[in-house]
């Protein structure tokens, strides 16, 4: 068994209202370390065996089609043991 992880983030130039809200809430709760926060989402996809490059390419296509909105988001695909 292996785990393919797709991480989706808004493109850097795109406004992230959720991240902004988190950044504003942190100091209210006494956490003063953050300069800014951006929020994304993470998909964990279980597969039977270590994925081949072709399978990873297929995951990338799925990410482009369904998991991410390539107009405003970027994503990375990686394998986690």
């Amino acid at each position: 068994m292996a785990k393919i992880v797709v991480e989706v983030m808004l493109k850097p130039e795109i406004l992230d209202p959720q991240g902004k809200a988190v950044a504003a809430a942190l100091p209210r709760l006494g956490f003063t370390f953050a300069k800014s926060v951006r929020q994304g989402k993470r998909f964990e996809i279980e597969v039977d065996s270590d994925p081949t490059p072709a399978q990873l390419a297929e995951v990338s296509r799925a990410a482009e089609t369904l998991l991410a909105n390539p107009v405003i988001e970027t994503f990375i695909v990686k394998v986690e043991k």
Binding site: E13, L15, P17, K20, V71, I72
Partner: protein, 742 residues
């Protein structure tokens, strides 16, 4: 990239500049050089390119739009006319109402959710900028065929975006339209309307006067959103494979906008601003040049004081950024402390970025170096004007000459089948799957919304004064005859206000067309504007403002000419309004107006793939008599519902389904024509039998014909010998849209 300053521009006249990539034509670039007496700096070039784009400068439409001023009817109701962010209308009792409709078509195709959401945000800020509290929104939408894959992509996203942004703002969405037609495939139309209310003395204008007054930017920080959106995106035809260029889109934040609204209203209430402008298309380029141009002309801005979300932005990008939820105000120095205090209270970012000066130049600096030094009028108001060639397209005479060959139902079984088929077609089907995603009742002042003929909002809770708004377009009629099509859309919108008992007062419009570089499209546009201006003059309704969206085409194929006309009316007591449907059995139903054989451009013809024939000719005198009758007879009408797309068949179906009270109808005319024809100027009313004589008197006083149709009651819609049980009718009407998109 090294900073390009005015000083450098003066000494390097021959440096090549990317004007074509920014959408400027060679002669436009040449004119900028003549105005400045040198080459523009890269920041100046950025400003001119966005402000001289079709979207901002109206360069192709201006010569036609001036008819709205030339032919303006005299109106005591108009407080602020065309040219400001939105027109303002006097509705009595010291109240003024401002309303406007704008397109957000291209962004909504590229990114449906955010495109539609920021469309709502933009029009709401336009209304806020006039000093008004926004009180409701409406969204007329048009898509490709309901079963097309691209429609399934864009429709859910657009609807969710409108609901997501509008609902978060706490603004009720009180109406609009949803129409499907193949010409909108790849060119969905997302038009957004907002209405706001204020007291007469609260009207604000976009002008920067008084040397020494401060230029204040408040709201969201500036990021790299939608840079050059208007010049590149809204002013260019999409190739058949999709958008040729894909600049980053803007993402809206409705919670920031909500705070900005409340903050601005508090600032207005304390009378702290001299002038104000929202930042929409063309961002700071537009706000600074329009404010300066609206005042005496002089302004100095230190661009490096603009708060940035992304510190790597260049000055050119800051000038072009279309980051949402920003406003620019002109504030007297004595009032700035209080202004900053209110912004702090609302946690709104605010910076003084410059001041009004004595001169007539807009000067923008970047860390002390002058990067822009221009006469602001040349940027904002004296852009290029094109008298583009126009020619009647060859299709017009050809399609006008076509003779329709349509099935004409006559037997009971055929009539029943035709009615069921018509009301289940995507255009006529129940749209509550869409409108139930919008909050229609937030704020508690919504009197009526979809599927009523118009949206109605109470504006005073003690006197029950209210306003009603309807938006309408019949693009097929405009395709057959753009001059009449515009008049007919105006008449329909006005009628939709009057059926509820509101008196039409003023007009806004959103004119959606193909490429102005196509003489045929330009002819459609010119005819539309001529028709609308003539119609408004005849009906005594001033045009308060509007919006033009060109380049709605894929390859060579333009959308149908789609002038969406919004009419606003006033009702003295919303409790007296006439609803679209009846709750009681035993009422008499009457048709007001004559039915002719007007199947050309009808929904029935569209369903049978026929788009030929002649559009009806608008009879605005008859429309005005009908409106008078509706307003005068309001007290006797238990219900009144307009006839438009789908004719009498759809009007009756909608009436009986609304409260589940059936009707029995007897038609003496040829039944197919009686049910399916879309002759304008008609309304179905329900009255108590005891009011029959009063209705006859009204009809004869206003010279309008009235025909008894039948009576209300029962659990079916019975038309002559065709019996359609309400359950069957409801299933046909309500299943189509959820099946397609649910």
């Amino acid at each position: 990239m090294a900073l390009d300053t005015v000083a450098i521009a003066t000494t390097t006249p021959d440096q090549e500049q990317p004007f074509a990539a920014l959408g400027l034509k060679p002669d436009e670039y040449q004119r900028i050089r003549e105005i400045l007496g040198r080459r523009p700096s890269s920041s100046e070039l950025a400003m001119y390119s966005v402000m001289w784009s079709e979207h901002c400068s109206y360069k192709s439409s201006k010569v036609h739009l001036k008819q709205f001023g030339d032919k303006a009817p005299h109106s005591d109701a108009l407080l602020v006319g065309i040219g400001e962010n939105a027109g303002v209308v006097d509705v009595g009792q010291g109240y003024a109402v401002t309303f406007k409709i704008e397109s957000h078509n291209h962004p909504s195709f590229v990114e449906p959710y955010q495109g539609a959401a920021t469309g709502v945000g933009g029009i709401v800020r336009d209304i806020l900028t006039m000093g008004a509290r926004p009180i409701a929104v409406m969204d007329p939408l048009r898509f490709g065929p309901a079963d097309a894959p691209d429609t399934r992509r864009v429709l859910p996203g657009i609807v969710a975006g409108i609901g997501g942004y509008g609902n978060c703002l706490g603004l009720p969405n009180i109406g609009g339209e949803i129409i499907f037609d193949e010409t909108y495939a790849g060119n969905p139309l997302v038009n957004a309307l907002c209405v706001g209310v204020m007291r007469h003395d609260q009207i604000k204008l976009a002008k920067a006067s008084g040397a020494g007054n401060l230029v204040v930017l408040f709201g969201a920080q500036t990021g790299g959103d939608g840079i050059g959106g208007v010049s590149v995106l809204a002013s260019e035809t999409f190739g058949s494979t999709g958008p040729a260029k894909r600049p980053s889109v803007q993402v809206g934040d409705p919670f920031t906008e909500k705070v900005l609204i409340e903050c601005s209203l508090e600032i207005f209430a304390e009378d702290l601003v001299v002038g104000i402008q929202d930042l929409g298309g063309a961002g700071l380029s537009c706000a600074t040049s329009e404010l300066a141009s609206g005042g005496s002309g002089g302004m100095r801005v230190e661009l490096d004081t603009v708060p940035l979300r992304d510190p790597s932005l260049s000055p050119e990008e800051i000038l072009m950024s279309e980051s949402q939820e920003r406003m620019c105000a002109i504030v007297e120095p004595s009032k700035i402390a209080r202004f900053l205090e209110i912004c702090k209270k609302w946690d709104v970012t605010v910076n003084v970025i410059g001041e009004v000066t004595d001169g007539d130049r807009l000067i923008i600096t970047w860390h002390g170096e002058t990067i822009v030094d221009v006469p602001p009028r040349t940027v904002a108001h004296e852009g290029p004007v094109y008298n583009r060639p126009l020619a009647k397209p060859e299709y017009v005479d050809r399609v006008n000459a076509q003779v329709l060959d349509l099935p004409m139902p006559s037997t009971a079984a055929e009539v029943k089948a035709a009615v069921l088929k018509l009301i289940s077609s995507p255009n006529m089907a129940d749209k509550s799957w869409v409108t139930s995603q919008y909050d229609k009742y937030v704020q508690g002042n919504t009197i009526q919304s979809q599927p009523e003929d118009s949206g109605m909002i109470r504006i005073d809770e003690s006197t029950h004064l209210g306003v009603a708004i309807s938006t309408d377009a019949n693009a097929t009629w405009s395709y057959l005859n753009p001059y009449e099509g515009a008049k007919l859309a105006l008449a329909e919108a006005a009628r939709n206000i009057a059926t509820a008992g509101a008196k039409p007062l003023a007009v806004t419009n959103c004119l959606n067309f193909g490429s102005p570089e196509d003489p045929g499209v330009m002819w459609q546009f010119a005819e539309t504007v001529r028709g609308l201006a003539d119609g408004c003059l005849e009906m005594g309704l001033p045009v308060t403002g509007g919006n033009v969206s060109f380049y709605n085409q894929t390859g060579d194929v333009a959308i149908l000419p789609t002038p969406v006309i919004g009419v606003l009316g006033v009702i003295q007591d919303v409790r007296e309004r006439t609803p679209m449907s009846f709750t009681d059995a035993g009422l008499d139903l009457y048709l007001i107006g004559d039915t002719k054989n007007d199947l050309a451009g009808s929904e029935w013809a569209y369903m049978h793939n026929q788009r030929g024939g002649q559009s009806p000719i608008a009879d605005l005198q008859a429309e005005m008599r009908l409106i008078e009758l509706l307003l005068e007879g309001q007290s006797i009408f238990a219900a009144a519902h307009d006839l438009s797309q789908g004719g009498l068949a759809v009007t009756l179906a909608e009436m009986v389904l609304h409260h589940d009270v059936g009707a029995t109808i007897t038609l003496t005319q040829e039944i197919a024509v009686a049910l399916l024809s879309e002759t304008p100027g008609r309304v179905v009313v329900a009255i108590s039998p005891s009011d029959a004589e009063a209705l006859a008197t009204l009809a004869s006083n206003h010279n309008v014909s009235v025909t008894q149709l039948g009576t209300t009651g029962g659990s079916s819609l019975t038309i002559n010998d065709a019996v359609i049980p309400l359950d069957e009718l409801r299933i046909a009407h309500t299943q189509t849209i959820p099946k397609l998109f649910g």
